[in-house]
């Protein structure tokens, strides 16, 4: 409670706290509670049957599986992009810098259509991939590709400032102490950027779970095979099965919330390890 009574530089703590609660309440808590209320129109067996239907289970598997692989891919390649942007000066660097943000701005349907065209059997990438026996469009791989596209900026933009903060001196010091480049990365750089990388991963993962627009084009939306959870929900809504749609939404909500909670706890733990500062 000490922080509540301490004099702040900026006035209006109570006002802004009140505003925060109202804002979060109006935008997040109330809509989500109504979601829960709507599911209560189902009986427990009905609810259980809806959320454990084979079609729903397949959709969870695809949504979480593809989102996870997309977020992991972004962790690896996003880190690489951030590294190159921070550590090297090359012609076209500012172009790459602005291209990274494009997935933020582009309407997701445009992204989905573009990717589908590229990866379809006659597309620029697809014709070669299919020659080697890889099918991307209209498969779960396609879903992961779309989600990777969407999630890239999250990892790059969270890791970049942290990398900028690390002096080259630190790497050089590690080298003079006998550390190989790999040891320097694993023992010096990685622990320092881990919390940021985790944030980027979380954001990319959460974004991918909720993504709809770019996926519906490339996935082909075949029930049990390439149908993601958001699409299943929309399908149920179109069939006027509001309670069924909300039931699946609730499962999705709880699962996402749990995941984000775990990641946040992990992050708090790694922050504590990293930022042991006086008075903290």
């Amino acid at each position: 409670m000490a922080s509540l009574t301490r004099r702040q530089v900026l006035p209006g703590f109570k006002l802004s706290l009140g505003f925060t609660w109202t804002y979060v309440g109006l935008l997040i808590l109330i809509p989500l509670s109504s979601l829960f209320l709507k599911t209560f129109s189902l009986t427990w067996p009905q609810f259980w049957e809806t959320v454990t239907a084979p079609r729903a289970l397949a959709a969870y598997r695809l949504s979480f599986g593809a989102s996870l692989s997309a977020a992991l891919a972004n962790v690896v390649f996003g880190l690489l992009v951030a590294w190159v942007l921070v550590r090297y000066r090359f012609p076209g660097r500012s172009l790459v810098e602005s291209l990274v943000d494009l997935p933020f701005a582009l309407p997701t349907a445009v992204a989905g259509l573009t990717l589908t065209t590229l990866f379809s059997a006659k597309g620029w990438y697809g014709q070669y991939l299919e020659a080697w026996g890889f099918k991307v469009a209209y498969t779960s791989v396609g879903v992961a590709v779309a989600l990777t596209f969407i999630g890239l900026p999250f990892v790059v933009r969270t890791v970049q400032p942290v990398l900028e903060d690390i002096d080259v001196d630190v790497e050089e010091a590690a080298a003079t102490l006998g550390a190989t480049p790999w040891q320097t990365f694993a023992r010096v750089l990685f622990p320092a950027i881990f919390p940021a990388l985790l944030s980027g991963f979380t954001l990319a993962f959460a974004r991918a779970l909720g993504e709809y627009g770019s996926v519906v084009f490339i996935s082909g939306n075949m029930p049990l095979r390439t149908e993601i959870v958001p699409l299943l929900i929309v399908t149920k809504l179109e069939q006027y099965d509001y309670a069924g749609a909300t039931a699946i939404a609730v499962v999705m909500l709880l699962a996402s919330f749990l995941l984000l909670l775990v990641v946040n706890l992990l992050q708090r733990w790694s922050h504590r390890r990293l930022d042991a500062r006086p008075g903290a």
């Binding site: 050089e172 003079t176 102490l177 010096v188 622990p191 320092a192 006086p278």
Partner: protein, 354 residues
């Protein structure tokens, strides 16, 4: 474990002026050698070439008589301390010191014992579990020393190690480094732009300018017998007197000094005079060898000394440092004429150009 550098050249851009140009010097075993020079003189680049963070275009680096020019930095076994400390923020003090030992995969017990030994050496026994963020600047720099020394390096390379600290801590750590060196006896190379630091703690000084060695020698040599106008002006805050050769002597206003043998009659000369190499007396007194009269432009007591700015009849301005009691006894004020006896000066042939 001496360090010998032979004809090192390093150019960062093709066609550009080299950061280090044909540098050769010898850092004697067991001594502290300073690389002294203004910023941009190539000192840090030279240090990086020696520890292996840079590769020379031409030349060789020998540590303990062995050519290690093409040896990667990891295998050179040199301890380096950076101005920015370059500590690992996410590690405790102990983990920082243990880093070089852990990457060498030494047994745990040996690592712990060595870390304890290093913590004692830098007098930070109580702070082993702290993170660098919880330490003062001076303490952080001592951790950096401990980390560099823990790997039992063959030589110790220090890049402006006290540059980021305030004056009082700097002076304390200078003493501390001197004591540390006495205990370890490690061949040490110290990069610094602070002449006080270089002259005070090193046995050997290499003065650098524009990527080249301007002069190398003992601190006394450098201070008392500067080999070039650059060294004379860089060290000791000397003032310049201009004149020409007259009857085989350097004639500088009313002052005449001996000149280098190569000087021809009538040639321009200039002399560097250190602030404490001039003795002031009341004008009109006659003892002394080279009387010289100037006018007091300005004076300012600084600690135990008074800094006096004299204007010579020739127009040259000379800074003189006089002990306070002596200045008070002199009893002169601004605008008064005083007699200035030049005790020693370094004379160089040629015109003076800044």
């Amino acid at each position: 474990m001496s360090i010998i550098v032979e004809q090192l050249t390093r150019r960062f851009s093709p066609g550009g002026s080299p950061a280090v140009s044909d540098v050769s010097f010898h850092a004697p075993a067991g001594a502290i050698t300073s690389l002294l020079g203004p910023s941009g003189a190539g000192k840090s680049t030279l240090l990086r070439l020696i520890c292996g963070l840079e590769v020379p275009d031409v030349g060789r680096v020998l540590i303990d008589g062995v050519d290690c020019t093409s040896l990667p930095v990891q295998q050179r076994n040199v301890g380096v301390v950076f101005q920015s400390y370059a500590l690992f923020r996410h590690m405790t003090v102990r983990e920082n010191i243990a880093f070089g030992l852990n990457v060498r995969k030494l047994p745990r017990a040996e690592v712990e014992a060595r870390v304890d030994e290093m913590l004692r050496l830098v007098q930070l026994e109580a702070l082993g579990e702290r993170h660098p963020g919880q330490l003062s600047g001076g303490q952080r720099q001592r951790v950096a020393f401990a980390r560099a020394l823990a790997i039992r390096p063959r030589v110790l390379l220090l890049d402006e190690p006290f540059g980021a600290l305030d004056t009082r801590v700097r002076e304390e750590l200078r003493e501390w480094l001197h004591a540390l060196h006495t205990r370890t006896g490690l061949t040490t190379l110290l990069v610094t732009h602070d002449q006080q630091e270089a002259l005070e703690i090193s046995q050997h000084v290499v003065v650098m300018s524009d990527g080249r060695v301007a002069q190398a020698g003992s601190p006394e040599d450098i201070y008392d017998r500067p080999a070039s106008p650059f060294v004379a002006s860089f060290i000791g805050g000397a003032s310049v007197l201009r004149g020409h050769v007259l009857e085989g002597r350097a004639s500088l206003g009313s002052l005449a000094l001996s000149v280098p043998a190569a000087a021809r009659e009538g040639e321009a000369v200039h002399a560097y005079v250190r602030p404490h190499d001039i003795k002031l007396a009341r004008s009109g007194s006659t003892e002394g060898v080279t009387p010289f009269t100037g006018r007091v432009q300005r004076f300012k007591p600084v600690g135990g000394f008074v800094k006096v700015l004299l204007r010579m009849p020739s127009g040259d301005e000379v800074t003189v440092q006089v002990p306070r009691s002596e200045f008070d006894a002199l009893g002169v004020g601004e605008g008064d004429a005083v007699r200035a006896d030049v005790l020693t000066a370094s004379v160089f042939v040629g015109d003076y150009a800044i």
